[in-house]
Symmetry: C2
Subunit: 577 residues, 2 copies
Amino acid sequence: MKQPDLTTLIPVARGDEPADLILTNARVVNVFTGEIDETNIAIAGGYIAGLGDYEQARETIDLAGAYVAPGLIDAHMHMESSMLPPPQFARLAVPHGTTSAIIDPHEIANVLGAAGVRYMIEAARDVPLDVHLAVPSCVPATNMENAGAELSAADIEPLLADECAVSLGEMMNFPGVVFGVPEVLEKVKVGLRKRVDGHCPGLTGKALQAYIAAGISNDHESTVLEEAREKLRAGLKVFIREGSAAKNLEALLPLVTKENKHRFCFCTDDRHPQDIMTEGHIDHVIRKAIGLGMDPVTAIQLGSHFTAVHFGLTRVGAVAAGYQADLVVVEDLKTFEVREVYRGGRLVARDGCYLGSESGARIEPPIDSVRLPADLSVASFAVPAPLAGAKIRVIGMQLHQLITTERIEEPTVSEGAIVADVQRDILKLAVIERHRATGNVGVGFIHGFGLKRGALASTVGHDSHNLTVLGTNDADMLLAARALEETQGGQVVVADGEVLAVMPLPIAGLMSTESAEVLVGQQQALRNAYRTLGSPVEDPFMTLSFMPLAVIPKLKLTDLGLVDVDRFDFVPLVVEG
Amino acid sequence: MKQPDLTTLIPVARGDEPADLILTNARVVNVFTGEIDETNIAIAGGYIAGLGDYEQARETIDLAGAYVAPGLIDAHMHMESSMLPPPQFARLAVPHGTTSAIIDPHEIANVLGAAGVRYMIEAARDVPLDVHLAVPSCVPATNMENAGAELSAADIEPLLADECAVSLGEMMNFPGVVFGVPEVLEKVKVGLRKRVDGHCPGLTGKALQAYIAAGISNDHESTVLEEAREKLRAGLKVFIREGSAAKNLEALLPLVTKENKHRFCFCTDDRHPQDIMTEGHIDHVIRKAIGLGMDPVTAIQLGSHFTAVHFGLTRVGAVAAGYQADLVVVEDLKTFEVREVYRGGRLVARDGCYLGSESGARIEPPIDSVRLPADLSVASFAVPAPLAGAKIRVIGMQLHQLITTERIEEPTVSEGAIVADVQRDILKLAVIERHRATGNVGVGFIHGFGLKRGALASTVGHDSHNLTVLGTNDADMLLAARALEETQGGQVVVADGEVLAVMPLPIAGLMSTESAEVLVGQQQALRNAYRTLGSPVEDPFMTLSFMPLAVIPKLKLTDLGLVDVDRFDFVPLVVEG
């Protein structure tokens, strides 16, 4: 952790030198005792010098009885899900009271490897948000697809040694741990020099014991109370996740008691920009927890202090002498509407408005990560017709679920090729390797999107983030792919040879260079355009982004072809009759 | 922290390989949830593989419903106070359930510097007790005396970098921190790479804020509840001390609640061998806490888990998968009588009997630290008579207190010298520099010991551990000093030219090479001998050991002379009339 300049801080604490800033008449949320302390807060050099009857200061602000909580901390998140790099993410999240986050830049790592991770760290400097690194542990997620990079134990080592690194990020390959796969254990061993974050949805019994025995320290994947209870008892810190897609707070909250609360933290995992803008970030989780009956001070502890303790962040997560002056001011603890946010003693947000510096520009974002083969053409998407009587495997998309089904369908053939069939809602899906222009294109068919015309494409495709295209015809699919090559990534809607809307995500094909406001506007434009294509799906790009994820059953498509996840192997498109 | 061999542990956890040992029908104290879990414990390679219905093992022991708590941890102690080096200390403390200790080898560091610290670490290897190092921060304690060594920030740095080091040890120089003395802050800065332990008796208000602002993380010096409450609120972890001399448990216990209990730990600080033998160690603190009304599981958390968490010891302090199999078996939680102790999965004590290995012999103890000048003679203790009408400063010893008074008395003169006066209970006190044979001898007079004949001497003399001699005549004083030179340290009682009893402490003049049993016998013999000299003082050697400690008021004696601690300066023995 960064340390304060003690020669500045101590004389102010002692009362011999004036503070930079004194907040008077504060009701401090004491995360150590659970009490509310009525006191003044003296700040010097960005840190809290002391709490007490401090009076001398260059600036004094009377809080008139408002509550002061420590800056909020997200225990586990992928910033890429906000589609914003650190400076823009900070603009969005800081007004909600978030002053620290443990980020696992797993998405950009799949595109750019260690360089992507280092970009996220560098871009977070000078931003009024402390970014702590969980080094991505599972890049690539599988060997069933081509990612842009991979991180071995040897690659992880120097990243983990960085001062800002707090852990090896979520070890999603829990089967690899439980079955003791050497390369996986090698990574765990490196990670244990700091700590290893977990990810083990549904793991139970002896398999869970084996995972924990390896030294995994936390998990954020519990969705039901009994699952979280077993993990809690077994020794994992339980990160209660409340993100945009996965919402576990209501299910898990009843597990938290005074006796065990120090074993819990709040996290968002994945949170979309519009949701942060309209609902909030960790402050939203706190409000929701309070609404569900949790004591406000406990909610603040889970949303800040306990996370700092878990990750050994000794200078954040409390309003006390020696702590960084990261403060959230609210008028009412129960409504927990963030009024002001101080970070390092500076006011960085008031009434939802960001007042921090425009920074993070000192590093150029990586914006050249979409490389398509020069000879990509409509022919790249063509699927020759099979023998008569053969059928095809079709991905069965299910609303609001990451899990797909496998459907065996009659192919619709036209001019010697299998084509999309709008009538039967069997559309064409293609995954184009986009990192090294290898020319790999996986082509398959999918049911459930209900598109009547046009195509859509995205460079956000978990976890390798190849270019995924869904379409009713090959020409529009090609146009969509080329449009994203031009913007160097993003999401696009095309129809009848025309680009209807595009949201550029040029940073690694994952994040915008625009502000959150512009980005959200672009997302809305995409949605409007998409609705003209006749599909009932609410958030098609989100759904589309999980179609290449070959670790979630049943049938998925990567740039290497169709994957039967249950068998963990490729399967042919055509099922001979 | 040491890490388990995952390739051994994981298959056992998974249930695919037999455990080394399974403890069946255990009632496990779950320090995470506060619950009691009825289960089996599978152990492999010294670590807990898992909790659950494990059955296959090379050895199975049916605990028949006995409780299993994690091995106990002393959060702050000076092992030298037990007068036993690590192997012998382990023999004494392990049967009481202590399997880890954070030791600050401050006493031996004052004698031997970094070499003494390294001896303590090395001697603790292969001992069934994990010794974690708090690097002594204040050696020497003052510049008013000659210690055997000093530790600068540069000396501290490599010690703190050792894997076994968890903190910079208690920063007793709290005025130095509060007033920002550069050399002191230099040490704190080095310490903050891990953590800095505190020591700030009675510190309050802004001075306390300043001390904490520096980054101090804990304190074990609270003696009254309000003091501890202020420190707790201000952010210090409160170590509740219950040692041989300082007993703070009863005063502080009412402060602990479910809401704040994770901010407390138990420690002993200084515990004498006889007390450990007859009453216990951390188990004694737990029993006493339960007797005072604390819930047993909470008491166990303070005596183990919370200490492990505070010091970042991730593999001890819980009975859970991946934790070192350090276990305490008790039949009844309320009486908490330790039945068996496992350390690293091996049974190391049963019913109070040590069953561990005879180890730690692989390093030779340092036994040549008492170096007296060759020309030491009765003349070394002589004090020339002053001018007529002059008086002398006499140390006023007070029973059961470390604080002394200053008495101004008429000197008793004989043959041109000031001599001890048994009738008036004014005895002679000498402090002989014993580390480098400089020939420095500080001589003074003391009231309160009530000795009628003979002399006593000790090489335990806080904090520099020079040779302290108290006597009724110079000849016996010389004999006492020479006797301890011969044993290379210890404590001795002489009278009329004869050594009545001696307890050798040849390791740095502080610790025995004998077993605890022999040592306690020698202590008893010293006591018996002392009683024949006519003094009513209960524990004269303990009292004597604090007479050179020039940081506790009022009048003290070092090898450099009489010190007025309130003025923090030397004062002459003679007060001119």
